[in-house]
Symmetry: C2
Subunit: 308 residues, 2 copies
């Protein structure tokens, strides 16, 4: 069994390769729920959906989120009704949020709901939210706290962030299966996702980080930062504004207490010694995933490192 | 002030004429909520929406419900998720149900929510649900009770109905403004709607029928049955299977305790004496509304009778 810690688009692209290399049934994905939000009264889990839609081959490939060729007719009318519509939800995408919200209201846990959706989309992976409990990522900018989605989508990551808050982190319990899968895994892969607000939010759930430190499985990460920049999302900006080095080294430092091997891009090969100095084995490879062949090659590399 | 008691499509078509004859601000519509149902966790008020969309010029003209040129993409995915999708909700239409449901969950009453929607659609009429309280129309067929929408939409009105039940009717209170508007009206118009499940459901709300009996305003109805058949909906079938005469006379009998004037179609002119025998003044006219001119003419006729 392979466990993958995942954020959104970067993770989903990596996982597209992974499901082509090992059977889906052998993959447990632990997903970030800190970005979850309520929109129009519906529970939206952006990162879980990005992973599920992508692996099901349904995602909009240019955006990286939502259904491919979706329409936005519902939102047009909601705008007429006076709603803010900066958080874009397509008509097909709404079905997921309606179904999730209804199941949660009827008493199901987010992990059950997510698994139902994943199965209906034809997937065999296990996709676990890091926690079923209330857990919300906020950023603080100029003394004002805002939901991560407001920072990310409404404000377009423009505000300078002084700190990140994971509300609910103290009392959240890992969802059933999260700790067990990490403990019993053959290997753990930390996907190329934001180390602060995606992987960081998974790690902020109590007992997850200690489980990673203790697991006998090899823990391999793929750097989300290539040449000092992220492919997608605000990881570089966020790291810089939090005083962290926006580089593969900076990411390695975030994971140094549990990471065995770090896969960094060839453009960053000069950083390898600094990462090795942290006690982390470093592999230099092509990490930019443009084609499916790139994704498969990267997945094979991570797996071979786990099995070596 | 003119008060109109309304069901769905037939009423909406008549009201399209009425708003072209008198200012919208002078019209209070009391709408049927017995057909309301929960779909995908959302509160749907079919008759209120049909009236609102029609008067706003947004309704799908051939169906008579839903938004014109709407898409059904959300529903396609909900079907994939295992939902029954016989109750058709278009993507634009969903916006109304999302907005209504969220406002209701936040503690607003259906009458406030409805008025918010109506205003956002640019209308100036008052559209009042007959009641804000739980009130649901069921039909009984072969000993089985089914929600009116199951009978109407899922079963296509095929089951033979032995009785109609208005659940909640005993304890429902008329929404604020319903009794007052009937009492103070210059005239009351009973729109050409199903006398059993549409107007009948409005009349089943306690105190509404007595208010109609007592009001000094003239009460004028337009027959929904022309030549023994309804233009739209199951009124004729329902009346027949409940042992009522499926004709303008049968409808007149449903309203005899409060109706002053009944407008029936010219095809039914031979029925006029029977209706007059019930103590109801009868006007023979062209009641089939094919064009806007037909609707305007019929509205003018009803108004002239009120003002005579």
């Amino acid at each position: 069994m392979i466990v993958a810690l995942a954020g959104g688009v970067g993770a989903a692209r990596f996982l597209e390769g992974l499901i082509r290399v090992i059977p889906q049934k052998k993959i447990t994905i632990v997903g970030n729920v800190g970005d979850d939000t309520e929109v129009y009264g519906l529970h939206v889990s952006p990162d879980l959906d990005i992973v599920a839609y992508t692996l099901a081959g349904l995602v909009n490939p240019s955006r990286g989120w939502g259904f491919r060729e979706d329409t936005f007719h519902c939102q047009e009318i909601l705008r007429k009704y006076g709603y803010e519509t900066w958080f874009n939800i397509g008509d097909r995408d709404l079905a997921t949020h309606l179904s999730r919200t209804q199941q949660l209201r009827e008493g199901s846990q987010l992990s059950q709901v997510t698994q139902n959706i994943v199965r209906r989309l034809g997937l065999r992976v296990a996709l676990l939210p890091a926690t079923n409990d209330p857990f919300t990522t906020y950023v603080v900018s100029r003394g004002r706290r805002m939901h991560f989605q407001e920072y990310m989508v409404k404000q377009g990551t423009r505000p300078k962030v002084s700190s990140v808050i994971f509300e609910g982190a103290r009392s959240a319990k890992p969802a059933h299966g999260v700790l067990e899968s990490i403990t019993q895994a053959e290997g753990v892969i930390v996907c190329p996702s934001n180390p602060i607000v995606s992987i960081g939010a998974v790690l902020a759930v109590p007992k997850v980080r200690p489980a990673l430190q203790r697991t006998k499985a090899r823990v391999v990460a793929v750097s989300p930062i290539i040449g000092g920049r992220t492919v997608k999302g605000p990881a570089d900006k966020l790291m810089k504004s939090l005083g962290l080095e926006p580089s593969a080294v900076g990411v390695a430092k975030c994971y140094r207490d549990f990471l065995d091997t770090f896969i960094i891009d060839q453009i960053d090969k000069k950083l390898a010694p600094k990462i090795e100095d942290l006690g982390i084995a470093t592999i230099v490879a092509q990490t930019l995933m443009k084609t499916m062949a790139d994704k498969v090659r990267l997945a094979r590399l991570a797996l071979s490192e786990i099995q070596s």
